[in-house]
Assembly symmetry: C2
Homo-oligomer: 212 residues x 2
Amino acid sequence: MSELRFEISMSLDGFVAGTDQSEQEPLGRGGEQLHQWVVRLAAWRERHGLEGGETDASTEAVERSHENVGAVLMGRNMFGGSGPWEEHPWDGWWGDDPPFHMPVFVVTHHPRPPLVMRGDTTFTFVTDGIESALAQARAVAGGKDVALGGGASVAQQYLKAGLIDELRIHLVPILLGDGARLFDNLGDVRPTLECTQVVAAPGVTHLTYRVR
Amino acid sequence: MSELRFEISMSLDGFVAGTDQSEQEPLGRGGEQLHQWVVRLAAWRERHGLEGGETDASTEAVERSHENVGAVLMGRNMFGGSGPWEEHPWDGWWGDDPPFHMPVFVVTHHPRPPLVMRGDTTFTFVTDGIESALAQARAVAGGKDVALGGGASVAQQYLKAGLIDELRIHLVPILLGDGARLFDNLGDVRPTLECTQVVAAPGVTHLTYRVR
């Protein structure tokens, strides 16, 4: 059964990005601290075409996040930019060889033809809602899971719709104080969570939950 | 060196109590779920004069929370009630034999004579601020640590003042959606936290941080 898996780095006070997100600071003020645990890992750097890096207790978490994944979902905010696409539109944060190497579906209000990048990454822009995006991702995932990349807004929509099967929080011991909260805008939806794995690692605790 | 230790149960979305806290629901709506992991433990029940209970991976966490503690600090909200004390004032949630068995200092705006209970528990009401309450607690702790019990408001004051040495979060996989957030009202204070222990247990993850 193809599952929808969502994972994200969150500060101890519940933020997945700081304030004032911009092209210069896509994770907002202080938000880069959320990813310090991962960007120094060889397992992450290799996927992003970078040399060197370390191995620690988080390495397995990084490897696991790519296992059995056949398609990626993300929101427009994670892809970057806002509003209607310009004549020479933004092509994402990741250069011409993005680290996905599989079909990526971007939930947006603004139509745009698919964008074919190097290394088997194709961005398809879905304008008819989160359920359609998930169905399209599943259709090409070949029975594998679909990984929801974020950001907070689209994750909240999928959580609220009860469509997420597995939630992984990379809990980072910092306090951002303000920004985008992961668990906002859920209305009265209270999913039942069962913690299935806890991994302590330098600068982060990896928490895996089944969502019911 | 006598340290100030603070521990509290927190929902995955950052709340330490639900909305509408009252005498009937001291932890607010849904807040009792925050303590389900502990109230069924023999180690907790024994301290509260109750029989039976279970033993699991949280037992050590409960035992550790009482080790080397010489005095307790809490806010008025945790002691109960609000505003000036009445003629026959509230004597706390815990009956005539409270589970502390040591001096307890209650930070409040409203003076009141000390309250001597059974079993070596004495409540002293401190009206000249959090630093005075900590100094008074340390003075009687005999070199042992001081345990800050909560609630959120007084914990925030101690965090903001940089007086907490160890923070333990009992992270419960529920979403309360609203209520009292632990990491609110900290202004620009951003303590540096280092995770020193992670314990996975049924229904809770125990996270210990050094605060610098």
